[in-house]
């Protein structure tokens, strides 16, 4: 589905991503893990178009999209979340979700001024989906709150909701788990699995909580210092010495004691 | 050559000094309080009239009376900040921008009420220029302005890098909330921002008035190029604003020099436009300013 070919990203003198090449396969849930500063978010930014690679190509379903702008990639079926939430601060939670949906008719100025009938069906569908998503994310009680006033975790949830509203083919999730209550996170995992199995949605997620990764992911990519260290099933990478050294500590504080 | 130096270079440096001193305040206020202070030009005028009032009482070189102008501008700035800007600080900055615009009107009308609308002249008569090497005719005032600006630049640099308040300024400019969380006394930083901005405005205004004459619209007329200078230098970068002031001043004046052939490069009617064109081009290609200020 998505293929990175020898991607390099330079920030001034720093090479944040160094000849990274890998694939994210359609229909799978792929995990992207690695130590802090390994370049994971940068890879997402390259895929989503927010950062221009200094060399290399990005392919989506075999088509070279390296030159496309972020919004064009989004329109081509890609959705992403941001590690640091980028909510629409002055829009309510509901509007945040509705504004993220694609609304080709309703965003046409001429329709809006002269032919309002043209977009009512589309708008109604967006509204229904947004309400459903709000329920899923347990944000009902803050549905009309301005997103800027939400708690850290709630913002993350809105971030996820906005990606879901896109009805994409592939979703890139950047540490949605950080800051989310574990009980809710477990529910979200079920939803992700459901979307994957029933609708064939492709996911790629960055996550530090390995149990979570192992619960969700079919395949794991491990990055370190800008390049791909190894990849494979969760169990294989967990046993990999290099991964343990680069990424895990002594495992003192087990999440599931 | 002597023509260039006499009629272009020195006047340009003088205008540049005036812009530079004014732009420092604009840039610092923009950086730390995050709003475009439209009353800054009129603050300059206030300072000028402070000096003028002192000059009416004390017949000495007006330059020696600048501290009176400074005292007046500092007081006015702190007063206005306390009663008109601070109550709006929690709101989007546009409210403060609009408030400062109203304060500009207040300053201007108060000056007109107290001193009248006429031009006021510090000293009568033509001041003979210094003649150097027989060819260069340089106005003493211009030299004074340029030297004063240079000294101020050095002092300012010292303040910003070597004092705790100066260094805290950058943190407050970057993220006022976090600065507060880090225990910095943001109120003090804000106070110092006004004090420095206002004091330099008084100096700039006085030089501008000495160069021509004092009138209530003095500062207002200089405001836009000073904004251009502040942006050019990078918002929140006082030293950048200084450089920006010089660049804008020089660009305005030197654009009508006959660089190529015999006629002015750009018709002097359009010389004001030069500052803006530079500013716009810079905004587009280097929005952080020449000296990498804070991006908004």
């Amino acid at each position: 589905m998505i293929e990175l070919e020898k991607i390099c990203v330079d920030f001034g003198g720093l090479r944040a991503v160094d000849h990274a090449s890998f694939k994210i396969d359609a229909g799978l849930i792929t995990g992207l893990i690695g130590p802090n500063g390994a370049g994971k978010t940068t890879v997402f930014n390259v895929i989503a178009g927010a950062v221009k690679p200094s060399s290399g190509r990005v392919l989506l379903n075999g088509r070279d999209i390296t030159k496309l702008k972020p919004y064009q990639r989004a329109q081509a079926g890609m959705a992403r979340t941001f590690q640091i939430p980028h909510e629409f601060t002055r829009l309510s939670v509901l509007e945040n979700l509705m504004a993220s949906a694609s609304a080709p008719e309703g965003e046409n100025v001429l329709n809006v001024v002269f032919r309002r009938g043209r977009y009512s069906a589309e708008e109604r569908e967006i509204y229904d989906t947004a309400r459903e998503t709000v329920r899923l994310l347990e944000l009902d009680h803050v549905i009309d709150e301005k997103a800027g006033n939400l708690s850290g975790g709630q913002k993350k949830l809105v971030e996820l909701g906005r990606a879901l509203m896109r009805k994409p083919e592939i979703i890139l999730l950047d540490e949605i788990g950080a800051g989310i209550n574990r009980t809710l996170l477990a529910k979200l995992a079920d939803k992700i699995l459901m979307l994957n199995k029933e609708r064939g949605l492709t996911f790629c997620l960055i996550e530090h909580d390995l149990d979570y990764v192992s619960k969700l992911c079919d395949h794991v990519l491990v990055m370190a210092q800008g390049s791909l260290l190894t990849q494979g099933s969760v169990e294989t990478v967990r046993r990999d010495e290099r991964v343990i050294e680069a990424y895990f500590g002594g495992g003192k504080y087990e999440a599931h004691s | 050559m002597s023509e260039f130096v006499n009629f272009y270079l020195f006047p340009a440096l003088t205008i540049g000094s005036i812009y530079a001193l004014g732009a420092v305040g604009i840039s610092m206020i923009f950086g730390i309080l995050r709003f475009a202070h439209f009353a800054h030009g009129d603050l300059m005028t206030v300072g000028t009239y402070g000096v003028l009032a002192a000059a009416a009482l004390m017949p000495v070189n007006p330059l020696l009376l600048i501290p009176f102008g400074m005292a007046l501008t500092i007081f006015s700035a702190l007063f206005v900040d306390r009663f008109f800007y601070r109550p709006l600080r929690a709101l989007p900055t546009i409210y403060t921008v609009i408030a400062s615009f109203g304060i500009a009107l207040v300053f201007r009308s108060l000056i007109q009420l107290i001193w009248g609308a006429e031009n006021q002249i510090f000293s009568t008569g033509v001041r003979p220029p210094l003649v150097l090497f027989d060819t260069f005719r340089v106005s003493v005032l211009h030299l004074q302005a340029i030297v004063a600006t240079a000294i101020i630049a050095v002092l300012l640099h010292f303040f910003l890098t070597a004092t705790k308040t100066g260094r805290s300024m950058r943190a407050v400019a970057d993220d006022p909330e976090l600065a507060e969380v880090s225990g910095l006394d943001t109120a003090k930083v804000v106070r110092w921002t006004w004090i420095i901005g206002a004091a330099l405005a008084a100096v700039a205004g006085t030089f501008a008035a000495l160069n021509t004459s004092a009138h209530p619209n003095l500062g207002w007329n200089l405001l836009l190029p000073m904004f251009a200078a502040a942006i050019l230098g990078g918002i929140g970068k006082p030293m950048g604003a200084m450089a920006g002031g010089f660049i804008i001043g020089m660009a305005e004046e030197l654009s009508s020099y006959h660089w190529i052939g015999d006629s002015a490069l750009i018709s002097p009617s359009y010389k004001t436009a030069v500052a803006f064109v530079i500013m716009i081009v810079l905004l587009i290609f280097r929005p952080q300013g020449l000296f990498k200020g804070r991006l908004l």
Binding site: - | T14, G116, E118, N211, E253, H258
Partner: protein
């Protein structure tokens, strides 16, 4: 019982610094009236409107004068732009008569004003042409010209240059300049390139004009200046000193040579305010205000429809001559039903069918800390 007349001025805004002496002049006219028997048997009151120097402000202020203050006649305003906008959008439709002391734009001539709009300065075309003649008569046939880029400067500047060239003079350099800048040295440097005998400065002393003269002298570029009424201001002398202006001369609308009116007015003005009678446009403002008051008295009521005709009657020959300050005499004559003819400090105010005046242009030189009229051109 009060009778109001409107006074429209550009009090705030770009020419604010000119206005205070002009307000004094208008107030002096009103004071003369009230000291000498009052208007229509009661008190005359000048109601000010501030145009803020913009079209919007001018129209708004004029609307208030004609609708809220209900004035029958308006003196003002000063800038041509504000004068015309106020006339077109507010004053003419309301049938109010207007007389501007200083609006020099040629466009004033062909306003479709039903005969309601007057002015007591000659159009730019006139002063420009006379100035050209004056300069050549002085034996100066090569000049550099700079004029301020507003209705005043452009109007006079362009007619001057045209007339001057036509009459055989040579313009070695010309530069239009912007108001409100701090330095005009770069403009001056290019003006000084040729071998001009003098620099013609068509600008205001309180703004660019004063700065240009000063910077020319300081830079050693020009020593002879030829100015218009905008520059002929005591401020200029204060600014650069009388010595530096010894060889310069100025043109300004004035009255016939032997007209004592100007001196009368200046004495009265200085007696009242201490100084400043010599400031630009004081004469015109006083005269225009005095004329509006005479017109109301002549009309015998505040009936708007009678004002324009009354104004013509009191301003134009034939009739017994009335000068500045002679209100008591004027009302006595009006009561007797006699025709009067006001001849003011700035001229005789003989209107043509467009409400324009021809008038006289005087030649002035610096004398002490004031100006002296040395010749007159008709």
């Amino acid at each position: 019982d009060e009778t109001k007349i409107g006074v429209l001025m550009d009090i705030t805004g770009p020419i604010a610094n000119f206005i205070p002496p002009l307000q004094n002049a208008a107030n002096l006219a009103v004071k003369h009236v009230n000291d000498q028997g009052g208007l229509l048997g009661g008190k005359a009151v000048a109601v000010y409107g501030d145009t803020t120097g913009t079209s919007q402000g001018a129209v708004d202020a004029a609307q208030k004068l004609v609708n809220i203050e209900n004035v029958p006649i308006i003196m003002g305003s000063l800038m041509s732009g504000t004068t015309i906008a106020a006339a077109e959008a507010a004053i003419i439709p309301a049938g109010v008569t207007q007389i501007s002391p200083t609006a020099t734009s040629p466009a004033m001539t062909d306003l479709q004003d039903n005969g309601l709009v007057f002015r007591i300065v000659p159009s730019d075309n006139y002063q420009g042409e006379i100035l050209a003649k004056m300069v050549l008569e002085e034996g100066i046939d090569k000049v550099a010209v700079t004029y301020v880029n507003n209705d005043y400067g452009v109007g006079i500047g362009q007619t001057f240059m045209e007339a001057y060239k036509q009459a055989g003079g040579e313009i070695v350099a010309e530069a239009k300049h912007e108001e409100k800048k701090d330095s005009y040295r770069s403009e001056l440097a290019s003006l000084a390139k040729g071998d001009a005998q003098a620099l013609v400065v068509i600008a205001y002393a309180g703004d660019s004009g004063g700065k240009i003269v000063r910077q020319s002298i300081e830079g050693g570029l020009f020593n002879n200046f030829i100015g218009t009424d905008g520059l002929r201001d005591e401020l200029l002398i204060k600014n650069v000193g009388a010595d530096a202006l010894k060889t310069s001369f100025f043109s300004s609308p004035t009255s016939p040579a032997e007209n004592p009116a100007q001196k009368t007015l200046h004495d009265a003005y200085n007696a009242e305010y201490g100084e400043g009678a010599d400031k630009a446009f004081v004469d015109q403002t006083y005269d225009a205000t005095f004329l509006t008051l005479l017109a109301v008295e002549k009309a015998g009521s505040t009936d708007r429809s009678k004002m324009a005709a009354a104004l013509r009657e009191v301003a134009m020959a034939p009739g017994e001559k009335i000068g500045p300050g002679e209100w008591a005499k004027a009302i006595a004559l009006i009561k007797e039903g006699k025709d009067i003819d006001y001849d003011g400090a700035s001229g005789t105010a003989e209107f043509d069918e467009n409400g324009d005046v021809g008038g006289y242009i005087g030649k002035f030189v610096v004398d002490g800390d004031g100006y002296k009229q040395v010749a007159i051109v008709e």
